[in-house]
């Protein structure tokens, strides 16, 4: 083959591959939002607990046994957005039936009128490699107030207990925050110090990528 034909063949080959090369380059330079995925919190691995001071003697540890939630998460960039956690206030449990009934009543959660407590946050702020601040809104007793939660991204990966037919990709998160119940009009037992104002929330969950 003459030199001219060789160079012609080489340039033709390059021309054929050029679109493919361009495509590969474009894919590599794709913006981070392309990795954003929606996660649904697994209700079987979702714990919502709280601590409230009782007359200064000790804190009462309780939980909400029914809750659901979701969020958007880009593992590559670490961006978190569109967080929503919805708690069923009728599911409050402190291992004492009369206290649980009292908590569900009009003195506290008023579950009959307000069966849901909802936390929402738009964008999470990354403060460290795996730590986030979620500046959001908490809706409780018909009122909405700003509440800040701290979240820690514990782990993401193919779930060890995946079945043969479903390969769940799971992200595990720990969330902590405190709010004042008086900000939502829940004032019973406050002025005499019998029930504390600060409610510490502890939320642990595993979420499945959709």
């Amino acid at each position: 083959m003459t030199r001219t034909r060789l160079s012609l063949a080489a340039s033709m080959a390059a021309g054929c591959y050029r679109p493919l090369v361009a495509l590969l380059l474009a894919a590599a330079a794709a913006p981070a939002w392309a990795q954003l995925a929606r996660y649904e919190i697994d209700p079987e691995h979702f714990s919502v607990g709280f601590l409230v001071e009782h007359i200064g003697y000790a804190k009462v540890l309780g939980m909400f046994r029914t809750a659901k939630g979701s969020f958007q998460f880009d593992e590559k960039s670490g961006a978190v957005s569109d967080v929503r956690i919805e708690v069923d206030t009728t599911s409050v449990f402190t291992n004492h039936r009369k206290r649980d009934d009292h908590l569900k009543g009009p003195d506290f959660l008023n579950s009959g009128e307000f069966p849901r407590m909802v936390f929402t946050a738009g964008q999470g702020k990354r403060t460290a490699d795996r730590d986030y601040t979620l500046d959001g809104q908490l809706e409780l007793l018909g009122k909405t107030q700003p509440v800040t939660m701290k979240a820690r991204w514990n782990k993401s990966g193919q779930y060890e207990m995946s079945t043969l037919f479903s390969k769940a990709y799971v992200t595990g998160v720990s969330v902590r925050g405190t709010f004042k119940r008086s900000a939502f009009g829940m004032r019973y037992g406050l002025d005499n110090g019998w029930v504390g104002d600060d409610v510490e929330l502890m939320i642990e969950f595993e979420a499945r990528r959709q």
Partner: protein
């Protein structure tokens, strides 16, 4: 002393405030216009003690946070009834409208219907003699009964609210018993009754209180019909607090006690039903193993 102790919030403060405010108001408006003084006493004590206990929310969202505002409306209605003077029908119409509106705001259509029914009770109470503490006695006993029932149903906030109402009404009534020094009058009756109706409505929609219990408690207000008596309006040209008191004598002392006793029997039946036959059911065990059916974790 803990000024936010429930006893202070719900008994001592409203009782003393009502007693003092009624007396101070009587000094300004005079014994002849004792009905106005009683409205100021009862109304002022209820609002002040409620604000001290649970605050007054400018944007109420829940039933409990709306309740204090219904008390404000009740007191305004009582004031109108008091100044309506010799036109009790006007006072009753205003009170009925306020009761229907207030209970409707709390409980929607059902609340408004309860308000209309309550207005009929109010009409009976307003016919009680103004120079005796009959109406006040029935209101105090009915409020105590409501307090007991709401405590059994699981709301200490409503228990304190009803107790507060009993104490405020009782404080003003001490100016009427054992010796009448002013007329309780339709104004204070309207204010206290509409406050009671609103508290009962809040209880009916917030806690598991048996309808029969509430019905019996409301019926206790009608005890004044049994004890009866001629209205003080039959006495003319008298300055309240002196001459009438001498004539009233034993009736002023004993009739309110009889009213309280009759109301007390009805209230006892109401509270008994709430605790042992109504919605409350048997108290849950607090020590030892719970029966499986009661363990919330197993539900």
């Amino acid at each position: 002393m803990d000024l936010h102790h429930p006893f202070v919030e719900s008994v001592a403060l409203p009782l003393l405030l009502s007693l003092a405010l009624t007396g101070i108001a009587r000094g300004f408006v005079g014994a002849a216009r004792g009905g106005l003084a009683a409205v100021i006493g009862v109304g002022g004590a209820v609002i002040a003690a409620t604000t001290w206990m649970s605050g007054l929310s400018p944007a109420p969202t829940s039933t409990l946070s709306r309740l204090p505002w219904t008390f404000v409306a009740a007191i305004v209605a009582g004031w109108i009834a008091a100044v309506a003077g010799r036109r009790p029908a006007v006072g009753w119409l205003v009170a009925a409208a306020v009761a229907i509106a207030a209970l409707g705001w709390l409980g929607g259509v059902r609340g408004a219907i309860n308000g209309a029914i309550g207005s009929l009770l109010l009409a009976a109470l307003m016919r009680a003699p103004a120079d005796r503490a009959d109406a006040a006695a029935a209101l105090v006993i009915a409020a105590l009964g409501l307090a007991a029932a709401t405590m059994g149903a699981g709301s200490l906030a409503l228990f304190q609210q009803a107790l507060l109402l009993a104490a405020a009404t009782g404080g003003a009534a001490l100016w009427l018993w054992p010796k009448p020094r002013l007329a309780f009058g339709p104004g204070a009756t309207v204010a206290a009754t509409v406050c009671w109706l609103a508290t009962a409505q809040a209880a009916s929609q917030s806690v598991a209180i048996a309808p029969l219990t509430l019905g019996l408690l409301a019926a206790a207000l009608l005890a004044t019909i049994v004890t009866g008596g001629r209205h003080a309006g039959a006495v003319h040209g008298d300055r309240w607090g002196l001459g009438v008191a001498a004539r009233a004598g034993r009736a002023a002392l004993l009739r309110p006690l009889a009213t309280a006793a009759i109301a007390g029997i009805i209230v006892a039946a109401a509270v008994g039903w709430q605790f042992y036959g109504g919605a409350a059911g048997p108290p849950a065990a607090t020590d030892g193993a719970k029966p499986a059916a009661e363990d919330p974790y197993l539900k």
